[in-house]
């Protein structure tokens, strides 16, 4: 059991070590990298199955019991996120086989890719706040290398903004962790859930705000999102897709964990603020996207907009809202990453990401058009695709708590999302190719299509056979709302009883 829980981190790190030693031998690196990503996916699936049957799993590193050692905790949320990371890792690894140039591979793309996967998995699984910071740093360093690999001018420009914003977030996070340790004497998250209620209210709220800003920068919420649209469109598509799908969601995950397990002393204040942030993030992101005319830039702004929906679910702080936020997050990772991958195929045919220089793809490649429609209309929330159910759950959670203004905002943002997606559809697919643009005769390599088709099928499955996904989301919502089970799994029965006695159970 212990092996299964550390595997999502150890496996990619071991792979990265071997890939570094194989540096320069591209064919072996490619094979190993892709195969390892697939194995990681399989391991993640086994982990989720185990969590689903046995409940929350815990490992104490080095045999030092919590709260003194570092705990790895897999509840349903963590296990689902690790599985999603496995799916995205495999999809991108396959896509990169045809998308990435040999120069970037020689510069160390493959090992860094696996370090990134390890960092993301570590952030999802850790039950220790300082350890979370370490995984954040690991994935930040790996992502910085991947973002600037190739040294193009625009990449470096985007990379500087990305790193500057994220280093500020890391510093804030470290500051917050230091203060939290000073106030409570522990950094184990389950232990913090027990001890934070004893901290004076003012200090607890200050700490909550520091963490809100730190996680918020990483999740790209308003007004801390500027770095995302400035950088995510600059690297090759395979890397953009992984970033756009996965990376900001690590920040959202941290918000979800932090503001359900730790900072719940003054819900009216913290989650009220989150509701405002959610609404403004949605609107600003979608308006930013409406002004863009570059395929990947439109998508980048939509990432920001959709983070708003996830934060909205968190802000409601009900089982339905939290489950909805997670459902939305998973749907969004698949759909968003897929749109990036489709943008890459569109460029393979037409040679550009600029909507002005794209066109005629529907007549040229109907299959690609269908795949685009699935992902894009799912993103816009068209029934019966996955995005519709995702929005429906979050909005229904809004009905329950009667947050009418936020519900209204989210509905109109949905329409504006549709506008952006229609804009891409009209320009790139429906209208004829502009003069001077010669569409490359196809078909594009099957390895580019395979991950796109797989992700589209997942989007369809979440739409047409949504029952199991809902059941899982419901369970996650319940687990997040009442963290007693989390505390029990990490610290044992006595601590759980103390937690309930404190009124921590909800």
């Amino acid at each position: 059991m212990s092996a299964l829980l550390v595997a999502p981190v150890v496996w990619p790190l071991a792979t990265a070590a071997i890939l570094v030693l194989l540096q320069g031998r591209l064919p072996i690196q490619r094979t190993l990298s892709t195969a390892s990503a697939a194995v990681q996916l399989a391991l993640a699936a086994v982990l989720l199955a185990r969590v689903a049957t046995q409940g929350i799993l815990v490992v104490q590193f080095g045999g030092w019991d919590a709260p003194f050692g570092i705990s790895f905790v897999a509840d349903h949320l963590s296990a689902v996120m690790v599985l999603v990371n496995g799916i995205m890792g495999t999809a991108v690894a396959v896509y990169a086989l045809r998308d990435l140039d040999a120069d970037r591979e020689r510069l160390g793309y493959h090992p860094m890719f696996h370090v990134l996967l390890a960092g993301v998995n570590g952030a999802f699984l850790t039950g220790d706040l300082f350890n979370l910071y370490v995984w954040f740093e690991l994935l930040l360093i790996a992502s910085f290398v991947l973002l600037t690999l190739g040294n193009r001018r625009e990449q470096l420009e985007g990379g500087i903004k990305y790193v500057a914003a994220n280093l500020v977030a890391s510093m804030l996070l470290l500051t917050g962790i230091g203060l939290l340790y000073g106030a409570t004497g522990t950094l184990n998250m389950a232990d913090l859930a027990l001890k934070l209620p004893l901290v004076p209210d003012g200090l607890a709220t200050t700490l909550a705000m520091i963490f809100l800003v730190a996680f918020g920068i990483k999740a790209a919420i308003f007004p801390l999102f500027f770095w995302l649209p400035a950088s995510y469109h600059t690297p090759p598509v395979a890397i953009s897709a992984l970033f756009g799908g996965m990376l900001t969601k690590v920040g959202v995950y941290a918000l979800l964990r932090g503001f359900t397990l730790l900072f719940v002393a003054d819900v009216a204040l913290t989650h009220g603020l989150l509701a405002w942030i959610a609404g403004i993030t949605m609107v600003v992101g979608v308006l930013g996207a409406a002004a863009q005319t570059e395929f990947r830039k439109i998508l980048s702004f939509h990432i920001v907009s959709q983070i708003g929906y996830m934060v909205m679910g968190l802000a409601f702080f009900t089982p339905l809202g939290l489950g909805g936020a997670v459902f939305y997050m998973v749907h969004n990772i698949f759909a968003k990453a897929n749109l990036f991958l489709i943008a890459g195929i569109a460029r393979w045919y037409a040679g550009s990401f600029e909507l002005k220089k794209l066109g005629g793809l529907y007549r040229h490649r109907p299959l690609l058009a269908v795949l685009f429609v699935i992902a894009a209309f799912s993103l816009a929330g068209f029934p019966p695709l996955s995005g519709f159910w995702a929005k429906l759950v979050v909005i229904r959670a809004g009905f329950e708590v009667q947050a009418w203004p936020l519900v209204a905002v989210s509905l109109s943002v949905g329409l504006l999302t549709l506008y952006s997606m229609t804009k891409i559809w009209l320009a790139a697919f429906w209208s004829p190719a502009p003069a001077g643009v010669e569409l490359r005769a196809g078909p594009a390599p099957a390895l580019l299509y395979a991950p796109v088709v797989a992700l589209a099928l997942l989007t369809l499955a979440m739409g047409f056979a949504s029952a199991p996904f809902f059941a899982l989301a419901e369970r996650i919502g319940a687990e997040l709302t009442d963290p007693t089970g989390y505390v029990r799994a990490v610290l044992g029965e006595a601590a759980a009883a103390a937690f309930v006695a404190q009124g921590g159970a909800r």
Partner: protein, 136 residues
């Protein structure tokens, strides 16, 4: 940099720095020190050599490419964690082997292997930076 003073002083200083780096690495488990700081000191020694004698000479002295040090270092840390699991304990559990050498005892352990891994990674990464910058 062709400076007679720098080149002459570099040779003895490097020996001292490398000895200190190994000293720091070995005492790191219970006392201040460890793989990270030891690796930095060793990298500083190599960087000094690269400044005094040029990047090519430093690369020749090192014999292996810095990337390989990173790879082997990462592998060593992962193995150090897995050995605990092979012994039927939790991941990263420290295993100790105490060997009597005369009237002293020599303590070998998986934390030491972990620290050696960190040491190699730090030396490899810093040297990659330094050599790349010196080559410009």
């Amino acid at each position: 940099m062709k400076s007679l003073i720098l080149r002459t002083t570099t040779r003895p200083i490097i020996v001292v720095l490398l000895l200190i780096s190994i000293f720091l690495l070995l005492r790191g488990h219970d006392l201040p020190g460890g793989g990270f700081i030891g690796g930095l000191v060793a990298a500083a020694a190599a960087a000094l050599y690269a400044i005094a004698f040029g990047a090519d000479a430093a690369a020749r002295l090192l014999r292996v490419r810095p990337e390989l040090l990173v790879g082997w270092g990462m592998a060593a840390t992962v193995v150090a964690g897995l050995l605990g699991m092979l012994a039927g304990r939790e991941f990263l559990t420290g295993l100790w082997w105490v060997i009597a050498v005369g009237d002293q005892e020599l303590k070998l352990s998986t934390p030491l292997l972990f620290d050696v891994g960190v040491y190699l990674v730090v030396v490899g990464v810093i040297l990659r930076f330094v050599l790349s910058l010196e080559e410009r």
